[in-house]
């Protein structure tokens, strides 16, 4: 074509989630451009995506032609042809990149780094989160210029919403040929929440101006060496355990102390010491002592199983009260009433009672019929009120009776059998032993969730038992664990178990 378009329209794609104010942002940009004498066209494909799905707004801004001719503007972005991509969430930035909308020759990418978990990510039984690092690296590689920071948090700090922060970041990134004043005037003309929007705008503007790419680092908990632990227990850790287990062992001792008492923490170390001893026999030093290290972690978790006493204790602590206040954003001195949603069942009551009584009651159909109806409803307990607080506070004080409880008895049996299985497996197949230790991950939660976890754990353990000799047994264990964590109906696990020739679920249930 002779005489290419002297006024190439600026192409802008806004990639947002339904309800994040992508439309407001588009309106501001249109208003900004029209007031600067540009021809502005904006369009979107909301549809059902308005309800939590991904939405795309597409805008083109073109300086008015001197001869008054109307530009022909496009209604959708073409890969490789977008000047500015604004993404309100990290994975939406990723989606724009994957669709080819962000290219190093022309695209300024302004993105907020916060995560809004998709349903597939958050409904996993374990950790289903998509890795952010891959998207961040791609954003750096694919864009001509990148502004990436948690603009959602920035907006919240300024009492506003993300659209205002994104608008500020666009201005600060010099991504559009308009002055800061033009941007601010558009917010003022919008007339809704002007002051708060301007505050967020300014903060984001400064952030983008500073040219900082704030690469998001997910807050990860790192295993720290023990700090609070009683000194003689700490010394014992160094004495009896190989170094790779120290960090978890320190945390484990802390946890047992917090959960029960010093003797219980000592029991934890005794059990670990026994594992370390056999680990040495199995040549643990050639395996980085993974068996002991894993045991340090998972034994601590199993020994501090979640019972009524533990929950009551955690719920009534002063630190928990302040955490709740912070989480619901209560202001200084504001009154916050807290109602706990508890559903203790007949089983939980039996669990808490001394073993002989608890087991007797649990096995007695008569008692179950008599008492169970008192426990078929959930209860709301208000821990901010005296009655509710004293109830839970009192339950927490049953700690002294925990070690004679029915629940403790059964957990102890489980723990000992589990450790024995792991050691037995590790003797022939070190990796399998480690995997068996890690099966504890399945046994978590409360009520039916806990029962389901225990069922899956038991089934896997039983399946693995005859496989000890197989060189790929550890891989089988991992596959089965993943299957248990993938589908809470247990069907996938049953299929995988059948695939390795394990017992059927019916056989398992019969045992």
């Amino acid at each position: 074509m002779t005489g290419m378009n002297p006024h190439r329209p600026i192409r802008i794609s806004i990639n947002a989630l339904g309800g994040q104010g992508g439309g407001v942002l588009a309106d501001w940009i249109v208003d900004l451009a029209e007031h600067a004498g540009y021809v502005a066209q904006a369009t979107s494909v909301p549809g059902v995506a308005q309800r939590t799905g991904a939405t795309v707004y597409y805008l083109e801004l073109c300086p008015a032609a001197e001869d008054g001719r109307e530009p022909v503007l496009a209604l959708m972005p073409i890969p490789g042809d977008v000047d500015l991509v604004i993404a309100s969430e990290l994975m939406e930035a990723g989606r724009a990149i994957a669709r080819g909308l962000v290219t190093p020759d022309r695209t300024v990418l302004v993105a907020s780094s916060q995560r809004v978990m998709a349903i597939s990510e958050k409904s996993e039984m374990a950790d289903g989160e998509m890795p952010a690092s891959k998207v961040v690296a791609a954003a750096q590689a694919a864009s001509k210029r990148l502004v990436l920071a948690d603009l959602h948090a920035l907006a919240e700090r300024n009492g506003s919403v993300i659209s205002a922060a994104l608008f500020g970041a666009v201005a600060g990134a010099d991504a559009l040929p308009f002055s800061r004043e033009d941007f601010e005037a558009a917010i003022r003309r919008g007339g809704v929440g002007v002051e708060a929007s301007l505050r967020a705008f300014c903060a984001a503007y400064d952030l983008a101006k500073s040219g900082v790419v704030a690469v998001p680092v997910a807050p990860t908990a790192v295993a720290q060496p023990p700090v609070r632990t009683a000194s003689e227990l700490r010394q014992r850790i160094a004495h009896i355990l190989p170094e790779p287990a120290w960090a978890y062992a320190g945390l484990g001792v802390d946890r047992c102390l917090d959960y029960q008492d010093r003797a219980y923490a000592a029991l934890y170390l005794d059990r670990l010491a026994a594992v370390a001893q056999v680990d040495e026999q199995f040549g643990g030093d050639q395996f980085d002592w993974r068996l002991t290290a894993a045991a340090a972690r998972y034994l601590a978790l199993w020994m501090t199983y979640e019972d009524v006493i533990r929950v009551a204790d955690l719920k009534t602590r002063a630190s928990r009260f302040s955490r709740v206040r912070a989480e619901v954003r209560a202001t200084e001195g504001q009154i916050v009433d807290v109602a706990e949603f508890m559903h203790p069942r007949f089983e939980e009551v039996c669990d808490t009672l001394p073993d002989a009584i608890g087991r007797g009651l649990k096995e007695s159909g008569h008692a179950r019929r008599l008492f169970a109806r008192f426990f078929d409803q959930g209860r709301q307990v208000s821990t901010s009120k005296l009655g509710g607080f004293l109830l839970l506070f009192g339950l927490a004080r049953l700690r002294g009776l925990r070690l004679i409880s029915h629940r403790h008895r059964s957990e102890t049996e489980h723990i000992e059998a589990w450790l024995a299985s792991a050691i037995n497996a590790a003797r022939n197949n070190y990796d399998l032993g480690v995997e068996i230790i890690a099966l504890q991950r399945l046994v978590k939660g409360y009520g039916e969730t806990h029962e389901r976890g225990l069922r899956g754990y038991g089934a896997i353990l039983q399946t693995l038992r005859p496989l000890i000799e197989r060189p790929d047994a550890a891989a089988v264990a991992r596959t089965l664990t993943q299957a248990a964590l993938k589908d809470d109906s247990g069907r996938l696990l049953a299929r995988e178990i059948a695939a390795v020739g394990g017992p059927s679920m019916i056989e398992l249930a019969a045992q």
């Binding site: 074509m1 339904g18 588009a26 249109v30 066209q41 369009t43 494909v45 909301p46 549809g47 995506a49 309800r51 939590t52 799905g53 795309v56 001719r69 109307e70 530009p71 073409i78 890969p79 994975m91 990723g94 669709r99 080819g100 809004v116 978990m117 998709a118 597939s120 990510e121 958050k122 374990a126 998207v135 694919a142 807050p219 908990a221 720290q224 609070r228 009683a230 945390l251 802390d254 929950v311 719920k315 009534t316 602590r317 954003r329 209560a330 009154i335 916050v336 807290v338 949603f341 559903h343 959930g378 709301q380 901010s384 506070f393 978590k444 939660g445 409360y446 039916e448 969730t449 809470d488």
Partner: protein, 709 residues
């Protein structure tokens, strides 16, 4: 009241001659109708034209001033039937709906009006829900135009062209005594742009004048022998009249090339695809940004009927023309072949051989297609492909639509999931509406959906008296009033159905943007609302009816179980009631903020999860899927799975607590009642409580520290 308010924007509808109108496509259409002297408008909401209904609704003041009647039709069929006012009288009328689904519903009335013909201009504005963002089966409205001989306008997607075509549409309709359909694609409906306004004008004949001076013409009624005459009339008179009008007013545009480089080639394009084609040409260096191209273009702002001699004139002397026609079957391309064959022209027609046979024609698709055309017919070299992006779509999670934060429909499906756990799986027949999100994660409930209001009819075959299972059907209140009351409930009563229907009564046609319906809350001044679903259901003969609050998960579960297992024979209907949270928040949030400001004692409720109690199994999320119930990293270094977390968007609907109770999940959930503007008594009492609780907590903390010392 709808989800989006156009109260401010509708003022722009008053713009007059000489003013530049700036706004959304849908507003431009409304303005064009007023400029055309329309007497009545109506329709049924649905993306992408929901907002047109909302604009009419918010513009009732202006419509009233111009004497325009606005009908919120009960269905698309009702809307199409309303066009009957243009049969006997020179009244202009326009109706709108989502297509093709709405056109399916409307086609009985449409076929009748197309057969008898019209005197006043009758315009159907269809939102063509095709391609990205669409929520329906991918079909074309084009087929309806062809089968009933309704003229189909497909304007270039800029506001001036759209407005011009609305005005021409009425004139064309009157010139050819035929209803006209104007097709707007999704993006065109939501398009912000500008056009030169004209004055609004009232209808020369008012509805009142027409109604008070009735005239009739039996020849317009579809009954033998007139129906046979109608068919001949279409062919002998209306069609030629339309062709004549279209040619005379140059509704289709011939765009001469800027150079002779490709004069022996050409592109025929649907008006609606014009902008995308022009951008593709620009990127191939074949056009500037102002509509001048190197290749001759013939733009079909009228997609049906085709103007044979314009087509043959365009193609004559050309080696090949490319047909850019989105969707399938490729009716225009087929017709083009026939036209050229009859004219004995040897011009090659290129179309679906270089363009995909199915799917949306995006800029990239057209760019590739045009390039392929030129590679074949002008010896052009293929350009280098873009390097692959450094990320693939597999690296980011899919984002299916789902229930909003606090949605009252969620607990209905949670209850179903819990009942299924107890009684085993059921056949579930779904309907159209937000509730159809149940088929997606995390609920994964539902077997089929057969159309709006057809949830119960979709399970009609499973009327098996000797089975001990029952089916569950779902219907929204929108679909219920649209036709579900008669087709589903009436049909079930008449056929002695023994199954279960759950009607989701959230007070609005929620999925389409929260428009009011018969059973909406009282308070709509221009409509009569507050007619209960239970009364209607009982009215057609259902005896087993329960109306319950959706948020009461325990009761919902119990009622569902009862309906599925009761010995009582006959249809069973559960009306699951609670207001759409999106609309409720929109109404109540400002009131709450005002109350806080005014110093009134108010409580805000929200939920939370204790991160040290949560073990990261996420059962709660699988049974709820609330956007505000999400996950966050586990701060406990011994644990590895993320914990559940309630973010600050929580509206305190209480479902997560109810789920934790009903499903016996875990004790991690708490509800916080945050008090604003406490009384003196509140404060004194709090201090007292806090003093005592604090003392006990201090004692416990000291003991715990002592254990670790």
């Amino acid at each position: 009241m709808a989800e989006r308010s156009f109260a401010r924007e509708v003022e722009t509808l008053r713009a007059g001659e000489g003013e530049i109108f700036r706004g959304e496509g849908i507003l431009a259409v409304a303005k064009a109708l007023l400029q055309s002297g329309v007497a009545y408008v109506g329709g049924y909401q649905g993306a992408p034209i929901s907002h047109l209904m909302d604009v009419f609704s918010d513009a009732q003041g202006i419509l009233g001033e111009l004497g325009v009647h606005f009908e919120q039709s009960a269905s698309e069929a009702a809307a199409a039937a309303m066009l009957a006012a243009s049969v006997n009288y020179p009244l202009r009328g326009a109706v709108t709906w989502k297509s093709t689904v709405g056109t399916n519903v409307a086609s009985d009335a449409l076929a009748n009006i197309a057969s008898g013909g019209v005197k006043g201009g009758a315009l159907v504005i269809v939102g063509e829900d095709y391609g990205e963002g669409s929520s329906i089966m991918q079909e074309r409205s084009h087929a309806f135009a062809m089968k009933s001989q309704i003229w189909l306008l497909d304007p270039r997607p800029n506001l001036q062209s759209i407005v011009d075509m609305v005005e021409h549409g009425f004139a064309l309709s009157e010139a050819s005594n035929t209803p006209v359909m104007l097709e707007l694609r999704i993006r065109a409906c939501h398009l912000h742009g500008h056009f030169a306004a004209k004055d609004n004008r009232p209808s020369p004949l008012s509805l009142r004048q027409a109604m008070e001076n009735p005239t009739r013409d039996a020849a317009r009624i579809v009954l033998p022998p007139m129906n046979f005459d109608h068919e001949r009339e279409k062919i002998d008179h209306r069609w030629p009249a339309a062709v004549d009008y279209i040619k005379r007013h140059k509704l289709n545009e011939l765009m001469e090339p800027t150079s002779g480089r490709y004069a022996d080639l050409g592109i025929v394009v649907q008006g609606g695809m014009y902008n995308t084609l022009m951008r593709a040409l620009e990127l191939l260096d074949l056009a500037d940004g102002y509509g001048r191209a190197d290749i001759p273009l013939y733009v079909l702002n009228v997609a049906y009927p085709l103007i044979d001699d314009e087509l043959t004139a365009f193609c004559a002397g050309k080696r090949a023309v490319m047909m850019v026609e989105e969707g399938q079957p490729e009716y225009i391309e087929q017709a083009l072949h026939a036209v050229l064959r009859r004219a004995d022209l040897q011009t090659k027609v290129v179309g679906k051989d270089v363009l995909p046979r199915a799917g949306e024609y995006t800029g990239q698709v057209l760019k590739d297609g045009v390039e392929e055309f030129l590679v074949g017919y002008a010896g052009r070299n293929r350009s280098a492909r873009q390097p692959a992006p450094p990320l693939s779509l597999a690296d980011v999670p899919a984002r299916p639509p789902g229930f909003c934060t606090g949605c009252p429909e969620r607990p209905v499906f949670t209850a179903m999931k819990l009942v299924e756990k107890e009684l085993g799986p059921f056949h579930v027949s779904c309907d159209i509406g937000c509730h159809l999100f149940s088929i997606l994660p995390p609920f994964n409930i539902g077997n089929t959906t057969m159309g709006y209001g057809l949830g119960w009819s979709g399970a009609a075959a499973f009327n098996v008296p000797d089975s001990n299972r029952r089916t569950i059907s779902v219907m929204g209140d929108g679909g219920f009033w649209h036709n579900g009351l008669t087709s589903g409930v009436g049909g079930a009563v008449f056929n002695k159905n023994d199954n279960v229907l759950v009607i989701i009564d959230n007070g609005y046609s929620a999925a389409t943007g929260g428009q009011d319906i018969l059973s909406s809350r009282p308070g709509n001044v221009s409509r009569s609302t507050d007619h209960t679903i239970e009364a209607a259901v009982r009215g057609v003969g259902v005896e087993w009816v329960r109306t319950i609050r959706t948020y009461d998960l325990g009761l919902m579960r119990k009622t569902l179980k009862e309906a599925l297992t009761t010995k009582t024979k006959g249809p069973k209907v559960i009306v699951a009631q609670a207001e759409c949270m999106l609309n409720r928040q929109r109404r109540e949030k400002p009131l709450f903020t005002a109350a806080v400001k005014a110093g009134k004692r108010v409580v805000r409720q929200r939920f939370g999860v204790d991160e040290d109690v949560c073990t990261g199994d996420h059962s709660c999320i699988r049974l709820s899927g609330c956007p505000s119930l999400t996950t966050k990293p586990n701060m406990d270094p011994l644990r590895e799975d993320p914990v559940a977390h309630v973010n600050n968007d929580c509206v305190g609907c209480g479902v997560c607590g109810e789920v934790a109770h009903a499903a016996v999940l875990c004790p991690s959930f708490y509800r916080a009642d945050i008090l604003f503007n406490p009384t003196q008594w509140d404060q004194t009492w709090m201090k007292l409580r806090q003093g005592m609780i604090g003392a006990l907590q201090g004692w416990a903390d000291r003991r715990r520290l002592a254990r670790a010392a």
